[in-house]
Structure formats: structure tokens, C-alpha cells
């Protein structure tokens, strides 16, 4: 019984952090407590949430993707140029990108390579492609894309709905479905999965392809919001996605991940930025305050774990 309740508590921590920060924001800036306010605070968090989920797939099998930021940038550049001007070419290019991701998975498996080095190399490759496609910032997002991303849903902003759907779908697919068990198992004990007769190659390829898919979605949502691209637009997503996943309770080993936590983690990161700008800190310390805030959020997690340990 304690086993169960502690697990529930552990998984409630990301939601708790999110709630605490949101409450702080509402106190400092009541204007945020509205449809418009929530949308303004969170619509740029949606692409980060997608990137975080992409990262999560890679983390699930015990790998790390240092290239997701460059990849999302490239997707943004493709979407703002080819996808707009010659949609067929654009779609083909995006599919090819996912294909390359899947191949990376295969390469990493075949040669038994450390994912960090391969994706480190890929981060240069993606950025190089982005610069080649869009040497100077510009381009414009396809109108249909902007229309979708900026669509005003009734009552609840699209960014929140989107994040909720994302979290739910990935949760069901990865945490509840029968196929998800195999994928996560490969992160926990790859050998056991192989001994049970599953193909590790297929697992890796699937996970990297999924990462690619969600990277593409992230890039699309991003250009839809910004309407225009830049080769350097999403380089920070690499760090954000890792931070978001970790905030959401993921661990670097053993396939311990939580899609709902990861999405909440990404949103929490965005809210931290908002809270900081509402607090009006001297510019010297604005960057540092971001660090302190991150520490505070994670310290909260530790606190909860302590309480739980005392209970047990």
C-alpha cells in the first residue's frame, strides 16, 4: 500500500510545482488569470512541450538527444520556406528528416554508439542545413499553419488544450499501451527485452522516429506562432527539453519517464520566465533569478519526497 501511494505522490510533484508557480503568478499579476493571459504566457510553451516529448522518447531508452534544438530550427526553416512555397517539397523534406532520425536510431544500435556523440554531431548537421536553407532570417509560415496554431478555441486557450491532448495521447501510448511496455522496457533492461524475443533495433528505430515526428510537430507549432523563421530560432530547445523532462520526473537511466510530467515540466519552465518578468528584478540579476527559481522548483520536489519518506 505504501508502495502505491508513494508512486502517486511522486508523480504528483510536477503538477504541484506547476500549480505553485501559477498561483504565485496570479497573486503578482492578476491580469494573467484570464483566457488572454494564459494564452500569452503559454502559447510559446506548446512547441517546447512537443520538443520535450521528443526528448522524452529518446530518454526512455536511456539515450540523450543533443540535437533536438537544431532539428526544430531546421523544421521551422523548412516550414517557413519550402512548405509554404512548394508544399510537396516541404512535406517530402519533413518526412526525410524523420527518416534521418529513424536511421540515427538504427546507426546507434548497429554500431552500439553513445547517443550523445551522434546527436552532438547531428546538432551541427541540422543547424548547417538550416543555415543553408535560410541564410538570413525570414520566410513565412503557411497560412493554414498560422490559422491552426492561432485558432481561438472556446473557453480554454488552444495552448492549454494542445498541451493536455499531447500529454494524454503520449501517456496512453507510452505508459498504458501494450506496445509502450516494450519501448519502456528497453530502457529499463534492454537485455531482458531482447531475451523476451523483441527486436532492440526496432525499438530504437521506433523511438528515434517518434522523436523526429514530435520534433517536426514542435517546429511546425513554433513557426505557426512566430509566423516566420530563423536558423537559430530553437537552439535553446535542447536544454529546455532536457530540463522540462527532468522537471517532469524523468531520469537518465532505466526508462523512468512521465509524459504528463514532461509536459507540465515544459509549461513550468515557461511560467518561471513569466513569473520572473512580473517580479521586476534588476536586469543584472534577471538571469540569476532564473537559476534560483529552477532550484526552488526542484527543491519543492525534494521536500515532497522527504515528507513521503517520513511517512513510509
Amino acid at each position: 500500500m505504501t508502495r502505491f501511494s508513494s508512486r502517486v505522490l511522486r508523480s504528483a510533484v510536477p503538477a504541484l510545482s506547476f500549480g505553485v508557480i501559477l498561483a504565485a503568478i496570479f497573486v503578482i499579476q492578476p491580469r494573467a488569470m484570464s483566457y488572454v493571459g494564459m494564452n500569452l504566457m503559454l502559447n510559446l510553451a506548446l512547441p517546447i512541450a512537443f520538443a520535450t516529448i521528443a526528448q522524452l522518447f529518446v530518454l526512455t531508452i536511456g539515450d540523450l538527444d543533443l540535437s533536438i534544438g537544431g532539428f526544430v530550427s531546421l523544421v521551422a526553416c523548412i516550414a517557413a520556406t519550402w512548405l509554404n512555397d512548394t508544399p510537396l517539397l516541404g512535406v517530402a523534406a519533413l518526412l526525410a528528416c524523420i527518416g534521418v532520425y529513424a536511421l540515427l536510431g538504427a546507426l546507434i544500435h548497429w554500431r552500439n554508439l553513445p547517443s550523445i556523440v551522434v546527436t552532438l554531431g547531428m546538432s551541427f548537421v541540422w543547424l548547417g542545413c538550416a543555415v543553408l536553407i535560410l541564410p538570413s532570417p525570414g520566410g513565412s509560415a503557411p497560412t493554414w499553419l498560422t490559422a491552426i496554431v492561432k485558432f481561438k478555441t472556446p473557453y480554454v486557450p488552444l495552448s492549454i488544450l494542445g498541451a493536455a491532448v499531447l500529454a494524454f495521447v503520449v501517456h496512453v501510448a507510452l505508459m498504458r499501451s501494450a506496445a509502450g511496455v516494450v519501448l519502456r522496457g528497453a530502457g529499463g533492461n534492454a537485455q531482458a527485452v531482447a531475451r523476451a524475443g523483441w527486436s532492440l533495433l526496432r525499438v530504437k528505430v521506433t523511438m528515434y522516429a517518434l522523436a523526429g515526428c514530435f520534433g517536426v510537430l514542435s517546429g511546425l507549432v513554433l513557426v505557426g506562432t512566430t509566423t516566420s523563421a530563423d536558423a537559430n530560432i530553437a537552439l535553446r530547445y535542447t536544454l529546455f527539453s532536457i530540463a522540462g523532462a527532468i522537471l517532469g520526473g524523468a531520469e537518465f537511466t532505466g526508462g523512468r519517464v512521465s509524459p504528463i510530467g514532461a509536459v507540465l515540466g515544459a509549461l513550468t519552465l515557461a511560467l518561471v520566465g513569466s513569473l520572473l518578468s512580473f517580479m521586476r528584478i534588476s536586469p543584472d540579476w534577471q538571469i540569476g533569478a532564473q537559476g534560483i527559481m529552477l532550484i526552488a522548483v526542484l527543491a519543492l520536489r525534494t521536500l515532497v519526497n522527504r515528507l513521503e519518506a517520513r511517512e513510509a
Partner: protein, 507 residues
């Protein structure tokens, strides 16, 4: 969706034992790892409806042979016939199709998944919408059938389970049938982390399974289990089969002799000589389990060997850890004078450094003593490694080989060597004989006695009753508490069991 409980394994229509067509037959199978010849031409056949006992010293090649049967290793030469047809490249899939299931010596569960999810991993048939419920029901049913009274629930995370519980899950999983039924279940040291009663439940289940027409290969270093459960016993030595007879034609002494060990000379008396405590004036360990009610506490004097008993997972390991951590720092629950060395029982989780050589694994606990001017003295390190190899007869061509190239029992010996080579005054042992063969066990007992004679103190948690006879007195644990302190003279298996189960009124 209504899934009829696919059910508890009712192995196939019972066929007469020892039928002419064996389930699997190996002939002339060899396997080498680099310079190590693990199998040197093995012939073996197992028919339906029999339990084959497989014994042999550590590193004899038992696990390697089983891995070949399970399709996770490929043999170099020889033939393997499964299901009547010779198979060239035998794969995991082929083994599965032939109805072969294997409980590996080093467990293969995914710690990040729940029990039900691990079940799903093993049984590809469990899929589709709402798979969880039947998967849970299935494993729950098998667990209850084999281990009545267990407390494992399908949605427990494997990482949260005790080693013994994990072993139970793994065993149950392999006896579970979904679409296709298990015909041959390989159990590679299944009882090494189970306590006595649970082990008995398992062996009883093996008999039932065999009676219903299934086959089992049982590997164990606990010869009583082998003798009492098998129909036929195969003895391996140095990668070859050296004896094969119906179980009835073996007795303990014959088995030991066949394995290549010198016959035993009444083991208990050897230990008895040293087991008498010589309490010095001051105890070097005084500890109270955190959950202990009442005044009882554990004390250990220099030169003493003290046993910890009780059912697995009732706080013995936790207390050993606590004592280990309390050495060199202050703790609310334990006062420890002198350094502690720990011998892990769960060697993968608590003991082995998988990237290191055998030698490095042995010396890690003694490095400070092997250093001169802050630098580790390579020559002295090597000397310790070689001494360890000799005293514990670690089977390897080279102590520089990776630790994982050792057989399970030999890894365990390396861990023993690590602790005994150190300068620790107190050795905490967490069921340390898991998977160690009889011959080595006897030598280790002797070593322990010798060391105790020299003044070292031992805390010895074990799930095997016989080992407790080496101790001067035994603390019995239940639910994280010490519930009894039995002096050696009063030690009987019944008493230990009684204290382990019974709710005592007092404290």
C-alpha cells in the same frame, strides 16, 4: 472485452515420462569465450514429464548451457535438436516456439516496469485494448498457485520488490501460459534468494508441473533440493557431463564426489570449534533496527560470528546497510567501532562493478592500504589479486579479465575476497553464499572461522538454516524487528521458523 482467464499453466496432455522423442537433445555442444572453453562437448537430452537436476561446481558451464537452450547464446560446434527437428541457428524465438522458458541466474526483469507489464513483455499475446487486466490476473493466478500467501501485486514496480520477490515473479512468469504453453522450464538457481518455505513451495510446484507432463531443468547448489526434486541428475565438471544417473542412485556424498570435491567430513563440527563466542569486554557493534519496539538490540563482539535469520526481506539487509553506513559516522541507531566490509548477496545491484576487471573488483575495498605516498602500488595490488584467486579458487585464466566473464558463483567469490582481503574489523554478510558451490562454501566457512579466530567479527544474514549453525547466536527478524535471540545451543529450524512467523506478545 471479455478475456477468459487464459489460465494457470496446465501443461499439455500428459505424456508418459521418458518418451522416445526428447523435447530437446544436445550432442557434442561446445562453446568458447576467447581463451575460456566453457563447454567442451556436452551431450544432454530431456524428455517430457521429467525433472532434470543439473549440478556442478561454479563455472562448470551450467548457465552457459542453459543460455544455449534458451537461444540467447549460440554454440560453436555440435547439434541441437528441438521439437524433433535439428535446428541450425537456434534463436530466442525458436526456443520460445519449442516451449522452452528460462529463469536466468541473473534475473531479467525490467525494474522500471510493473509486474503486470513485465508479464506482457514476456507474453506477446497479451495486447490490444484492455490488456492490463488479463495480464495482471494471469500473473496473479500463477503466483498464487506456486507461492500461496505471497504479497506481490500486479501493479507493483519491480524495482520496489525485494530480490526474493523479484525471483518469484520471474519464476511465475515463466510458468505462465498464454497462447502456447511452456513445455520445458529451466530454473537456474531459482532458490538462491528464496527463503526456506518459499523454496519448498517452488519445489512442490515443480513436482506438480512434472507430474502433469511438463519438464524442468533445475540447477542448484543446494544439493538437498536437487536430490529431493529431480528424477534424473546430471553432473557437470569443467564444461563436460561427468555423471548422469537417476536421482535415486545418488546421495549427497556421491554428488559431491562427482562434482570433484573432496567428500565432506561432518561440516558442523568444524565450525563448532570456533563458534563459541569470546565476548571481549566491549562490543564493537551495538545496533537497533529503526522499527524496533522494546529494548532488544544487536550486539557484536570481536571474534564473534552472529547470525541474522528470519524470512527474506524482514529488515536484515537494511540493518546490515545501516551498520555499514554507521561505520565512520554517527547514527541514531547504531554504534560501530571499527571499519565494516560488506559482502553483497544481490551482486548485480550491490556488489559488482561491471566495467572493471576481476582484480579491480577485488581490491577496491583495500586500495587505501595498498597505497604508498598516495599512489596505488601496482605490485601489491597484483599480489592481493593473486592471493584472492588462490584462496577462493576463482576460475579465470586472468584476473585482468572483465568481472562479468565469471560465472555467477565465481563473481560471488570475488566479492567475498574483496571483503576478506580488506582490513575491516567487521564483516557484514548479506546472504553471501547465493550461488556458491558446496566445495567452495566449505572452504569459505573454514576461512570465516579462521578469521574469527584472529579477532574479526562477522554478521551473517542467511536464508539457509544450515549456515546458521556456524554462528554463536542468531537474531531472528520479523517486520523490521528483532523478535528472538537464539543461542547456538537452542538453535533448531523449528524455533527459527516459529519466531519468524509468530506474533510475539512482548518486546
Amino acid at each position: 472485452m471479455q478475456l477468459t482467464p487464459i489460465g494457470i499453466s496446465r501443461p499439455m496432455t500428459a505424456s508418459p515420462a521418458r518418451s522416445p522423442t526428447p523435447l530437446v537433445a544436445l550432442s557434442g555442444v561446445t562453446k568458447s569465450f576467447g581463451a575460456v572453453r566453457a563447454l567442451g562437448g556436452v551431450d544432454l537430452a530431456i524428455g517430457p514429464g521429467e525433472c532434470l537436476g543439473l549440478v556442478g561446481h561454479n563455472g562448470a558451464g551450467k548457465s552457459t548451457l542453459m543460455q544455449i537452450l534458451a537461444g540467447t547464446l549460440h554454440h560453436d560446434e555440435g547439434t541441437l535438436v528441438a521439437g524433433g527437428a535439428p535446428t541450425g541457428a537456434f534463436s530466442v524465438g525458436a526456443a520460445h516456439d519449442a516451449g522452452i522458458r528460462c529463469v536466468f541466474q541473473e534475473l531479467s526483469l525490467c525494474p522500471n516496469l510493473s509486474v503486470a507489464e513485465n508479464t506482457r513483455l514476456r507474453h506477446p499475446g497479451l495486447k490490444g485494448f484492455g490488456w492490463r487486466q488479463p495480464a495482471g490476473a494471469l500473473i496473479e493466478a500463477t503466483l498464487s498457485e506456486i507461492f500461496p500467501g505471497h504479497t506481490i501485486r500486479p501493479d507493483d514496480l519491480v524495482a520496489d520488490l525485494e530480490l526474493g520477490e523479484r525471483q518469484m515473479v520471474e519464476i511465475a512468469m515463466n510458468f505462465t501460459a498464454t497462447g502456447d504453453r511452456p513445455r520445458l522450464v529451466i530454473l537456474d538457481e531459482p532458490t538462491s534468494s528464496l527463503d526456506h518455505s518459499v523454496a519448498a513451495q517452488l519445489l512442490a510446484h515443480v513436482r506438480r508441473f512434472v507430474a502433469a507432463g511438463g519438464s524442468v531443468i533445475l540447477i542448484s547448489h543446494i544439493l538437498g533440493d536437487i536430490l529431493g526434486t529431480s528424477d534424473r541428475i546430471v553432473v557437470m565438471r569443467d564444461g563436460r557431463v561427468v555423471a548422469e544417473r537417476p536421482a535415486a542412485q545418488f546421495d549427497r556424498a556421491a554428488l559431491v564426489a562427482a562434482m570433484g570435491h573432496v567428500a565432506e567430513t561432518a561440516p558442523e563440527t568444524a565450525a563448532a570449534a570456533v563458534a563459541e563466542a569470546r565476548p571481549a569486554d566491549r562490543p564493537i557493534v551495538e545496533a537497533r533496527p529503526p522499527r524496533q519496539r522494546g529494548a532488544r538490540s544487536l550486539t557484536l563482539y570481536p571474534g564473534q560470528i552472529v547470525g541474522l535469520a528470519g524470512l527474506a526481506g524482514h529488515g536484515q539487509t537494511a540493518l546490515l546497510r545501516l551498520i555499514q553506513n554507521a561505520a565512520g559516522s554517527t547514527s541514531r541507531f547504531a554504534k560501530v567501532e571499527g571499519s565494516v566490509a560488506f559482502v553483497a548477496g544481490d551482486r548485480q545491484a550491490d556488489g559488482v562493478f561491471p566495467l572493471w576487471s576481476i582484480g579491480q573488483n577485488v581490491t577496491i575495498r583495500s586500495l587505501a592500504a595498498l597505497s604508498r605516498f598516495g599512489l596505488i602500488d601496482g605490485r601489491r595490488e597484483r599480489a592481493v589479486e593473486e592471493a584472492a584467486r588462490e584462496t577462493f579458487q576463482i576460475r579465470t585464466p586472468d584476473m585482468d579479465d572483465n568481472i562479468l566473464t565469471l560465472s555467477g558463483g565465481n563473481q560471488q567469490k570475488a566479492l567475498f575476497a574483496r571483503a576478506l582481503a580488506s582490513d575491516a574489523a567487521i564483516i557484514a554478510m548479506d546472504d553471501p553464499m547465493r550461488g556458491v558451490d558446496v566445495g567452495t562454501k566449505r572452504e569459505v566457512y573454514a576461512r570465516i572461522a579462521e578469521e574469527a579466530e584472529k579477532g574479526r567479527a562477522f554478521l551473517w544474514y542467511t536464508t539457509e538454516f544450515d549456515e546458521l549453525l556456524n554462528c554463536s547466536h542468531v537474531y531472528v527478524f520479523r517486520s523490521g524487528e528483532i523478535v528472538a535471540d537464539l543461542p547456538r545451543g537452542e538453535l533448531t529450524e523449528e524455533k527459527v521458523l516459529q519466531s519468524s512467523f509468530e506474533e510475539t506478545a512482548d518486546a
